[in-house]
Subunit: 146 residues, 2 copies
Amino acid sequence: MIMIIIIDKREKEEIMARYSRQREAIRKQVSGRKDHPTAETLYAELKKDFPELSLATVYRNLGQLAEWGEVVKIDSYGAARFDWVVEPHSHFFCRECGCVVDMPEADDRMPRDIAEHFDGVIESSASNFFGLCKECKEKLDRESRN
Amino acid sequence: MIMIIIIDKREKEEIMARYSRQREAIRKQVSGRKDHPTAETLYAELKKDFPELSLATVYRNLGQLAEWGEVVKIDSYGAARFDWVVEPHSHFFCRECGCVVDMPEADDRMPRDIAEHFDGVIESSASNFFGLCKECKEKLDRESRN
DNA sequence: TACTTAATGATAATGATTATCATTATCGAT
DNA sequence: ATCGATAATGATAATCATTATCATTAAGTA
């Protein structure tokens, strides 16, 4: 039995969303970066051009954007991180520098496989990898060689 | 290039660990259950036979046991959960009842695959699935039929 | 221009976890 | 058995990420 995996991009709510400069700025800031910033990081960056911005507004809007499927909330291991790339893919977490990098080739294959043996409904999945990123690996290699 | 995946079960520290009734009780409590209890849940249960127990002690010991590779800390989505099964496997999180169930057949295949395309070091991985468990699916099916 | 109400900023509150610290308990050596 | 060093504990304060509250501001429509 093949089971379809539903990625839950729900429609934009009953209540109509209004425009706001803050949300627009947050949207632009997230989409402009390839790292996976935390709310705090985005806040710090946005504050430069937007001194009156509140951290609560950043959290509020990121939550909303995630709900609308415009960003993905990577909800693990300390502070949540946000990703502009909404196509399903995995993430790697470096234990040394704390960076998060995309693992595009991971997904797709497996969930389908798993779903066949599962009695409930799988709506989404996330594969996380841990270890040392390229840079930290090389750095530690260099250090141990001394 | 095939890369070996190292599960980081580090040796039991320099400092020698001493016996304690509390740790023993915590160890027994975790190993005795198949759900994936949080620290708080374990605390509540242990408190019955151990009224003087402190929540801090539960956290402390679970952290230690995890460090020693005796339990696995499932570090995601709200409160951390602890698993006595240390062999690599995935978990399913039900969005309705919040239960966590094992997905034994998930791992193994994929990480090896991924590792070939990764320049750093992958030490471990975790695949998480989200959706509705069997019970909640059936319950919701029943309700929508009315 | 006025009105309705979504969005904001400031901040208090919450929840999970960790840190602190004085006291207690383990365990090897005496 | 008792001593001494120090790991472990219990109680609780502190921290960190996030959410809730609420009075004020600002979209967007009538």
